[in-house]
């Protein structure tokens, strides 16, 4: 009998009215695995990520994260589970514009348990933003904002990191930097599920799944896992 995955999805279906965003999707993600989800726009990959991240609920099917069935949790339980177990990284960064880098990281601590400035500072130093602690998001580049977002996602030591196109709004140099950070977290043992359109990034992951029209259409194990992104030329 296979060991239980960090994420187990069985028969997952999600409908919005008449629109079926996901249909009968089943897959597992092992602890420490890096899974990349690809597919064209509207294929259901972000919906998949939202359901695994307890931001949304399935219409049908069972979703188990870290051994807990999260398919039918109340909004309050989903919130609690999210802050204890999941770290979210967004394409749009979603930083609070009037809080500086340090405070944006501390905000996640505050909602989790208690804000700790020293710990938040360490998290920002680890993502290379030791000199940008008091900068507002508007004073940071896109890559720096995404690194603040990564520091915020990691600050409560989540069991799983979910990233929705984390480098979608970044230039090549920042993309490399962000992917380097995520690869490092993966090497440290984090389970990582990432949505991306970029096949180069997909090469970094352990496994790649493709969605199309709400269906899981293909799955590929990547033997080049742990490669690094190389700048062309």
């Amino acid at each position: 009998m296979a060991s239980p995955g960090m994420v187990d999805v069985r028969g997952l279906t999600k409908r919005y009215g008449d629109t079926c965003a996901l249909e009968d999707v089943s897959l597992s993600v092992a602890p420490g695995e890096w899974l990349v989800v690809m597919g064209p726009s509207g294929s259901g990959k972000t919906t998949f990520l939202n359901i695994v991240g307890c931001l949304d609920q399935p219409t049908e099917g069972i979703v188990t994260v870290d051994g807990k069935d999260v398919s039918h949790l109340s909004p309050r339980e989903m919130g609690r589970f999210r802050r204890e177990t999941i770290g979210l990284i967004f394409q749009q960064f979603h930083l609070i514009p009037y809080l500086n880098s340090l405070e944006n990281v501390m905000l996640a601590q505050y909602f989790h348990s208690m804000a700790d400035e020293a710990e938040a500072r360490d998290a920002l130093v680890r993502v290379g933003l030791g000199d940008r602690l008091r900068h507002l998001p508007s004073q940071l580049s896109g890559g720096e904002q995404q690194r603040v977002c990564i520091a915020r996602a990691l600050i409560n030591s989540p069991k799983i990191l979910l990233a929705d196109e984390p480098s979608g709004n970044l230039d090549r140099r920042n993309e490399e930097m962000v992917m380097g950070l995520l690869s490092q977290r993966h090497r440290e043992g984090y389970t990582l599920i990432m949505v991306t359109h970029n096949p180069e990034i997909a090469q970094l992951a352990d496994r790649l799944v493709n969605f199309d029209h709400g269906h899981l259409v293909s799955e590929k194990r990547n033997h080049l896992g742990q490669a690094t992104l190389q700048r062309p030329g």
């Binding site: 931001l55 909004p75 919130g79 609690r80 749009q92 979603h94 505050y110 909602f111």
Partner: protein, 444 residues
Amino acid sequence: MFLRLLKDALWRRKGRAAITLLCVVAGLTLAVALLSIAADVSEKMSRELRSYGANVALIPQSEEVTLEIGGVNYTPPSEAHYIDERELVKVKTIFWRNNILGLAPFLGSPVFLGPERRLVVLTGTWFDKELTLPVGATIRSTFAEQIKIREAIAFRAGVKSVAPWWKVTGQWPEEASLDTALVGATLARREGLRLGDILPLEYEGRRAQLRVVGLLTTGGLEDDQVIVPLPVAQRLLGLTYGVNRVMVSATVLPKEKLASDIRYKRPEDMTPKEYEKWYCSPVVEAVAKQLEEAIPGSQAQPILQVAQAEGAFLLKLEWLMVLITFFALLASSLGVMATVNTTVLERRKEIGLMKALGASNSQVAALFLAETGIIALLGGSLGFGLGAFLARILGEGVFGLAIATDLSLFLVALLLALAVSLVGSGLPLRQISRLEPVGLLRGQ
């Protein structure tokens, strides 16, 4: 972190916070002003209403039927009973003595005018006389206790204190004068009397020659009477110190203000404890009872139509104030609701992010509540100050009363302001609890 978020929310939305503050201040100003007035108005309006006439009549105690028409006793003096005017100073010995604003004795009788012996009504009274309760007099200090006073109590009595609407053209007669009179305007017109004329009056062989010093207009029966200082009437009617009616003006509260267990109970049906409670309440019946006890040979009759009309008026006034206060606070809450609602809409993306990071509804709601709470406390304080000022202006301008706002209302103002902000935040907070992070992060 919480304080940091709070400070930013208030600082960055100064305009919105200012509108919320304005809503709270407007509601609280009106509420504090009306509550201040309502707290003071019963007693002060009751005092004000006293200018519309006496509310207790004292008549001689008698088992015989007296013949009285239009307030004038037609019973022959030899057969009638009287109240001794010297006892009237004792109105200041009763428990509610400070509520007695005025009194005036009356002695009325038909007399003959001139050689044609036309019948006219003569009324003797005090116009503005000083009375003094001497040192050592006994006054009631509590229901069961009486004490002797160490300082004399002086006060003024007379028609000027119970009927301020009496209008005299010419002069008021001197209190001690024995040959001056006021003539009612109607009588003067009918008899062709003018200022300075001599009125020859006669009663059972006793005669008086009185000089008309003033023409009186009251709009009542006095317009057809001759009004004289009390000693003039007593001498003509052959009496010493007797009066046949005393009108007393006292500030009282409506019966509806009594405790419910004694409100509609007759004093004779009350337990001793209930009777004590009733006796020490400033309702017209209790004041009348005490006057009756204080003035020997008198029988007190509350003028119920006056007392009840006043009571009803004061209660309606209070209710009106409470209603206006309620609607002012409701309007204030709606204003707060509109601005908080707009703030929630503006910050929905931020709220979505907080929820995505695991914030509970109560954590997000606490931020909004603290924000409106701070505005409410500030608004409550400002509203208290402005309300006290408005109460003073309204009191002087509308009621002609000096109204002081009780400092204890400050706490009430703060609590009301918090209630306004809580009610105003209710619906927006409900909206917060319904916001789903997934939609908000997508910008939906």
